[in-house]
């Protein structure tokens, strides 16, 4: 129905969720974790994470990384 609550930060409007995801990304040491946290978005964020994980594993299985 409406947007999430936003908080002002450096002139940008960020939702609480965006703030936490940013914090998690900064806290994560593992590149895979950063990638999965950053994938958490869209209308079905959980599926987006799963999809990103499968993609990362496929890259390893195919020797792309």
């Amino acid at each position: 129905m409406a947007d999430a609550v936003t908080t002002g930060q450096e002139g940008k409007q960020k939702t609480k969720l965006e703030e936490v995801l940013e914090k998690l990304t900064l806290s994560a040491d593992n590149p895979l974790h950063k990638r999965l946290i950053q994938a958490y978005k869209g209308s079905d964020p959980q599926s987006a994470v799963v999809s990103e994980f499968s993609k990362s594993v496929s890259e390893v299985a195919r020797g792309e990384t």
């Binding site: 129905m1 409406a2 947007d3 999430a4 609550v5 936003t6 939702t15 609480k16 969720l17 936490v20 995801l21 914090k23 998690l24 806290s27 994560a28 593992n30 895979l32 974790h33 999965l36 946290i37 958490y40 964020p45 959980q46 994470v49 799963v50 994980f53 499968s54 990362s56 594993v57 496929s58 390893v60 299985a61 195919r62 020797g63």
Partner: protein, 847 residues
């Protein structure tokens, strides 16, 4: 935003349309149980959010909640709706939600369809302005996870609740999300590693592997070392694998040589075979038949060519002997010569046409040869897949011995597959022989010029049969392939055991698959790392929730809780919120703890220690605190049955909470089934001058709602009298007196109207102009009407004082006199007493 009025029709307990006017400070609604009281709060919830919390909690997909919004008695042709006048930023908006046939809400703002309420944009996380009795205890007496969800919702952290749930769900079983290629890769690697693990001679390798990805380098160094120990000295790096293979093959070949597996059809290969099947048949069916038929003309080619030759020679001879035939000596006249020349020209043209036909014949023969070659190749490629296993047929007794009783199932798999494979291969070979024979027959008809379409049909049929046989062969080989592959692995293993080459076999496997092993460990590491990811998300969100609940929320809740507790209460109380911790002191995910103390001593928890009434009070305080916290567009609060299971003292205490909320600017809509308590609220908050409704009955048309005056006219008069006589009354008191006067004027005017015109007007909805009009219509003296009108001059229709307003005791006395005059008018009309309680229903004029 505040609520001015609410109209409900066909929704929940409301069948016929009813309107409730809402006081800007406090509206009380009393109803016995099941009289439709909660339908009012649900109507508002549905209007604002398109769903009620009851349905939201119960999962809308459940059948029992399907179609629950529509009143069962409401006509099927009508559209149930909820409509409210909402005051926002100094403007009034007509907000309407209509229930569609598919149970969704269609919104209209001032008559225009909209997707969402613009004044709620940006406030999705704002606490809903509803404190519903059924939700209070649910917050506390819930499973830990539900309690966490409840607090997250209260704190506007629903998104974080979902974030954590999503990552927990993902990290709990990440392996289920592996793509098929990774699953297959890991399975292969694990089989090899398992075999390596079983080799006592390779312990250094397996030790290194046990360290996971970090041990991989050491593991491969160990593998190289072990390999070198087994090959002749001086073997180059490149020659190590061939050397090991030879060592193994030499050793195992003494026992058995050959394979029992079939070559697997890859997906792409299968697709190519299907295309090849089709191509075999279509080559014959499409162009070939047409070309073949056109060759029928070849029968006459030699005749035509001979005729042309004959005429050509004759023509040449005629040039030397023009008047006599060179062959028969007959005399040739001019007309016959012309005839001969014409025939010669035609014969030469026919000869040219024949050479085209001959070219076509070459093409047809070439096509036949190509079909023959393709058919042979097609069959050969199928047979190649199973040739090795068929060879094993000659060695079945030896195989049985090697498999032994331990692996008899594998032996039987091979033994039972062999005749089937042999049968399909034989079928395909026969079909191929038929193809060859049919093609040969067709070639002969071309060579002999005895064209017969039936031979081509035979070729087509034979090719179809061959394609079907090959298809059947593929199907069989694909179905037996897994069992034969397993049998082959067991056979190879048994041979290695018998030949003493198990370790060599493992080493071969390891050096043949270094990339698979490495990828397996990398994937394993990715899977393992999700535990750390989960921990990171858990701890981060737990800390955010802890910060929110332990600081501000605890203090806010405590301050409201202090207002409810009574002096006689035993000192057993809520003492704050916390998150549960592990023995190591780290926060437990999704575990909100509600603390309580008894006379200074910590209790196990509030949930297990506090009485139901205190938990109820605590839930209420949490909801109130959450409602006042953070950014919110709502300046109203709907409270439904808040005082269940409370004693009289606590009920009284809660009235001061209501006053506090009103003083903070909250518009309160309070619903209760406790009439006695609402009377108490009305008396306790007398000066608030709210509005009071009672639902006195309920039937298929809906609730019977009436409005009760907040205070009796006598009470108001006494209040005004007391203020005018109180020389210490300050400006606030005097202003309150003026408010009482205006309420009195409206109520008395409405009474007069009722007596004179038998029309009920809502006194809460009157203003100066409406009062003037009413009194004029009732024949009240014009001078008195002017004086009465004057009482409205210092405030607006909502009784708000103008900026320049200054309270004046003398003016209040004058107003008191005007009201007394109006009361005399009422008294004159009051010979017959009217109903004290008037239903709100069917009173359009009330607006």
């Amino acid at each position: 935003m505040k609520l001015r009025q609410l109209t409900v029709q066909g929704f929940r307990g409301f069948n016929e349309a009813q309107t409730v006017f809402l006081n800007e400070k406090l509206t009380l609604i009393y109803a016995p149980n099941s009289y439709g009281k909660t339908s009012i709060s649900e109507a508002l919830e549905w209007l604002l959010y398109k769903i009620t919390s009851r349905v939201e909690r119960a999962d809308y997909s459940k059948d029992e909640y399907k179609d629950c919004y529509r009143n069962r008695h409401f006509p099927e042709t009508g559209a149930p709706y909820v409509e409210a006048i909402i005051s926002h930023d100094g403007k009034d908006f007509l907000c309407r939600a209509e229930l569609s046939a598919d149970n969704t809400a269609i919104l209209y703002l001032d008559g225009k369809g909209i997707e969402y309420w613009p004044f709620l944009k940006g406030y999705a996380a704002a606490q809903k302005p509803f404190i519903l009795q059924h939700a209070l205890k649910n917050l506390l007496l819930a499973t830990p996870d539900e309690r966490f969800q409840g607090f997250a919702a209260l704190l506007g952290l629903k998104d974080l609740d979902k974030l954590q749930s999503d990552f927990t769900s993902f990290c709990t079983k990440p392996e289920v999300h592996l793509p098929p290629e990774a699953v297959s890769l890991c399975r292969t690697a694990e089989a090899t590693l398992g075999r390596a693990n079983a080799q006592t001679g390779l312990t250094q390798i397996t030790k290194a592997f046990k360290k996971g990805l970090p041990g991989l380098k050491d593991a491969f160094a160990e593998i190289r070392r072990e390999c070198r120990d087994r090959v002749p000295a001086g073997t180059t790096e490149d020659a190590i694998l061939p050397s090991l293979l030879k060592i193994r093959e030499d050793a195992t070949a003494k026992l058995f040589s050959g394979k029992v597996s079939v070559e697997v059809f890859e997906e792409k290969e299968l697709a190519a075979f299907v295309t090849a099947d089709k191509l075999l048949v279509t080559t014959i069916v499409n162009t070939f038949t047409k070309d073949y038929l056109s060759l029928a003309g070849l029968k006459t080619v030699s005749n035509i060519q001979e005729k042309a030759k004959f005429f050509d020679i004759g023509s040449q001879l005629l040039q030397s002997s023009a008047e006599t035939c060179p062959f028969c000596g007959q005399r040739i006249d001019a007309s016959r010569r012309r005839y001969i020349e014409a025939e010669k020209t035609r014969a030469l043209a026919d000869g040219h046409a024949c050479s085209d036909l001959l070219s076509k014949r070459d093409v047809v023969l070439k096509t036949l040869r190509a079909v023959k070659a393709n058919a042979a190749d097609h069959l050969e490629r199928h047979i190649a897949k199973c040739s090795s296993v068929l060879w094993a047929e000659q060695n079945l007794p030896k195989l049985r011995e090697i498999f032994g009783t331990k692996h008899v199932a594998h032996y039987e798999a091979v033994a039972s597959a062999l005749p089937k494979i042999k049968a399909v291969r034989s079928q395909a070979t026969c079909a191929h022989e038929t193809v060859r024979a049919a093609i040969r027959a067709t070639e002969e008809t071309i060579e002999q010029g005895t064209h017969d379409l039936r031979t081509v049909e035979e070729v087509g049929k034979a090719l179809v049969t061959l394609a079907a046989a090959c298809r059947e062969m593929r199907s069989l080989l694909t179905s037996v392939s897994p069992a034969l592959r397993d049998a082959q692995l067991v056979l190879q293993h048994e041979l290695d055991v018998l030949a003493g080459t198990e370790d060599v076999a493992v080493l071969i496997d390891l050096i043949e698959k270094p990339h698979i092993i490495e990828k397996h460990f990398r994937i394993r590491s990715m899977l393992d790392s999700t535990k750390d990811l989960r921990k990171l998300v858990d701890q981060t969100i737990a800390q955010i929730v802890l910060d929110a609940i332990s600081s501000e929320l605890t203090a806010d809740v405590m301050s409201w809780y202090e207002q409810i507790r009574t002096t006689g209460d035993p000192d057993v109380h809520f003492s704050g919120f916390d998150m549960e911790r592990t023995a190591a002191g780290t926060l437990k995910a999704r575990r909100v703890r509600v603390n309580a103390q008894s006379y200074g001593k910590d209790l196990a928890s509030a949930v297990s220690s506090l009485s139901e009434s205190k938990l109820n009070a605590l839930g209420l305080c949490v909801s109130i605190a959450a409602n006042l916290k953070g950014q919110s567009p709502y300046e109203f609060l709907v409270i439904d049955d808040p005082i269940q299971s409370w004693d009289a003292e606590h009920e009284t205490q809660f009235i001061s909470v209501l006053r506090n909320l009103i003083e903070r600017g909250k518009q309160i809509v309070l619903l209760s089934h406790n009439q006695r308590w609402l009377e108490q609220v009305r008396a306790g908050l007398r000066s608030v001058n709210g509005w009071y409704y009672e639902i006195t009955g309920y039937d298929a048309k809906g609730p019977h709602m009436i409005q009760i005056p907040w205070a009796k006219i006598d009470e108001r008069l006494k209040e005004v009298d007391a203020i005018t006589k109180d020389i210490s009354a300050n400006s606030i008191r005097i202003q309150q007196g003026e408010e009482e006067i205006r309420i009195l004027v409206c109520e008395v005017a409405a009474e007069i109207c009722q007596k004179v015109k038998a029309e009920r007007k809502d006194p809460n909805n009157l203003n100066a102009d409406k009062v003037r009009k009413m009194l004029t219509e009732c024949g009240v003296d014009v001078g008195l009407i002017d004086r009465i009108h004057k009482t409205f001059s210092t405030t607006d229709d909502s009784h708000h004082a103008a900026p320049a307003y200054a309270p004046n005791r003398e003016r209040l006395r004058q107003y008191q006199g005007y009201v007394n005059e109006l009361l005399l008018v009422l008294k004159r009309h009051n010979e017959s007493s009217g109903p004290e309680k008037t239903p709100l229903k069917n009173t359009p004029s009330a607006q």
